[in-house]
Symmetry: C2
């Protein structure tokens, strides 16, 4: 029975445990806040500290990219960490990410690194407005971002950013990436997996919708083969370059028929949660297969499937789970505004049937908590 | 967060925990051997004894029908037990089972109760040979059964049975049911679920194959609507009569276009394991929904799916999980001949594709451990 230690004890570790238990994998998680090793699905009982967790594990992985660098270093020294600390750090620092993309010739938005007022001015003249500025570290779910649409805002934006940089207490020095805002048609992401021997498997591209900067809905359905091929090539290039092992997600902006990489996540990803019901093998199982050096599972789409995030709510009406194919996934977290509390997967034999079920969902769910769902469902219905 | 206590800490409780955790259900199990309450998927840490388990639970259920009657009584007194102890006991005593079937006019094999030599002789003249004798209690997976095909064996069979009855140490008095051996075409089973309010949902009929008296393969595919309707009526009659709550499985002999009830299991059932990958909602989740008084989930078939039991083996070749749609479910049990150690689910977009995948499986799996798989796969392939 192989033993896996996950760095981080949140919902991704929890879903790894649910997916790995049937494979007789013993999944434990290192809770970075308590410093204890726990069972992700029943974290009230502790199984020692990090050193014990590392010693007892056969394989170590991470559920998030902002793991303290000393923890990553300690894990890497054991020779059990997959993917490497280099890969994990890339997901946590947009500067490293951009350098990787450049080194692999992966198309991405024109950008400029900003540390000083001079860099800021240079970014504006190089990229031209509108520009989005993103913190290099710890930025996710829309935090640490500034949009500059006219020069009148420039002074204010720079002051806020300078304040943000100087207030940062990150281990690595904080910085800013300026990116030309791309007028994209939609956001899509590719979740894929790579095994130690270089085998790669990628899931169908997922279309993603955000509400207030947080992913609200992902849709997996049969996709344009050219786009799928393009995304697959980027996945292979990036993961080969890193000698990557495990699941990685790549978020793209689609501009016409072209995909620009927005960001990469060196881990299982929210936009891949639909795979629990919609794919031959879910992303959590495939991540575990990869890091345990087992054959990868098929990533084929079983049927059109959507994932809806439950944000800031800890109950939903019972009627929702009476809708055929609805699968509810709570994370057992205490309620907090803006927090990802769980998600709903729903499938259909056809996209039309899926759209009808999404519309039914939108009727039962509180519009305040799920503001864009009805519109999204209607956009899929072909009359 | 609703708390569920399962009587029995085997693979069925384990799979209930895996299915219930995403619903934020807290699943614990009472291990009848150790007398302790444990987490089914991580049973090394104890959470108190039965009394504490009952006190802490909101709902109590059972994963097997041979629970000691005093334990059932203690649970029932708490008002939290679903289904009732009466229903659970029926699954553990063929005499009660037959009486239920008769009271519901559910077609079943002609039979006679045997306690004495006089009953034995009467059974032979009433039923005529061949007859199968089954112990009333604790008989499962082919144990406690005798076949009488010619009168020359009668004396020997009776001596063995009389010895068996007198050696039995069961709480309730042991007995024998004589049944006319039905020359059936195939064995099928219906897994269904009933909620407190009387709502009922049934899965598609499953075709079952046994090897040495133990279920080896179950196949779920679109079925004959007349048979499905017939089975559904029996399910409704039996569960309404018992005011049953939870999943129940009914095994049938198919004789021409008629279904005869063979036996019932008042619990989630091996022939319903395919629902984990092949149905909109799996049997474990639907059982939990029912006993927690939540809306039942759709029982629709997603695509043709088969379940193959892993018996007496604790490893299988890695190649197996490379076959698309193969999902492996280990129970984390120590190896023992004849023991159910895990199962494999495999699906196909069509029955033909499923058959091809089953054939591939049979190539990789050891023929000694899976003796009938290749033949079964070939029988499904239409050339």
């Amino acid at each position: 029975m192989k033993k896996v230690l996950v760095l981080g004890a949140g919902q991704l570790a929890r879903m790894m445990q649910l997916a790995g238990t049937p494979l007789n994998l013993d999944i434990k998680a290192f809770d970075v806040r308590s410093g204890k090793v726990v069972l992700p699905i029943a974290p009230h009982h502790a199984y020692g500290d990090l050193a014990e967790g590392i010693a007892n594990a056969d394989v170590i992985t991470a559920e998030f990219e902002h793991v303290a660098h000393d923890v990553l270093a300690e894990c890497e020294r054991s020779g059990k960490l997959y993917p490497t600390s280099e890969s994990i750090k890339i997901g946590g620092d947009r500067r490293l990410e951009k350098s990787l993309l450049e080194s692999c010739n992966a198309a991405n938005a024109k950008h400029h690194f900003v540390n000083t007022k001079e860099d800021f001015d240079a970014a504006i003249s190089k990229l031209s407005l509108p520009i989005i500025f993103k913190s290099a570290l710890e930025g996710y779910d829309g935090k640490g971002q500034w949009r500059l649409k006219s020069m009148e805002q420039a002074e204010q934006v720079w002051l806020e950013m300078a304040e943000f940089i100087s207030a940062s207490t990150t281990q690595v020095k904080q910085g800013i990436i300026a990116e030309r805002m791309v007028p994209f048609d939609r956001e899509v992401s590719l979740v894929g997996v790579r095994r130690v021997n270089g085998d790669v498997a990628v899931y169908p591209l997922t279309e993603n919708h955000h509400t207030n900067g947080i992913l609200s809905v992902s849709l997996a359905a049969p996709v344009h083969s050219t786009l799928q091929e393009q995304a697959g090539k980027v996945f292979k290039a990036l993961t080969d370059k890193l000698n990557y092992v495990g699941v990685m997600a790549i978020e793209f902006f689609q501009v016409g028929d072209e995909l620009l990489v927005n960001e990469i996540a060196p881990r299982v990803h929210n936009s891949g949660h639909w795979t629990q019901q919609g794919a031959d093998t879910c992303q959590f199982e495939n991540h575990l297969r990869a890091i345990c050096d087992l054959p990868l599972g098929s990533t084929a789409l079983v049927r059109p499937t959507a994932m809806i995030n439950i944000i800031g709510e800890d109950t939903i009406p019972d009627n929702v789970i009476a809708i055929p194919s609805v699968s509810l996934h709570w994370y057992n977290k205490s309620k907090r505004a803006g927090r990802k509390m769980g998600h709903i997967n729903v499938s259909g034999d056809t996209e039309q049937q899926l759209a009808e079920r999404l519309l039914a969902l939108s009727v039962y769910l509180d519009e305040k908590a799920f503001p864009d769902l009805a519109e999204f469902a209607l956009s899929l219905i072909h009359i």
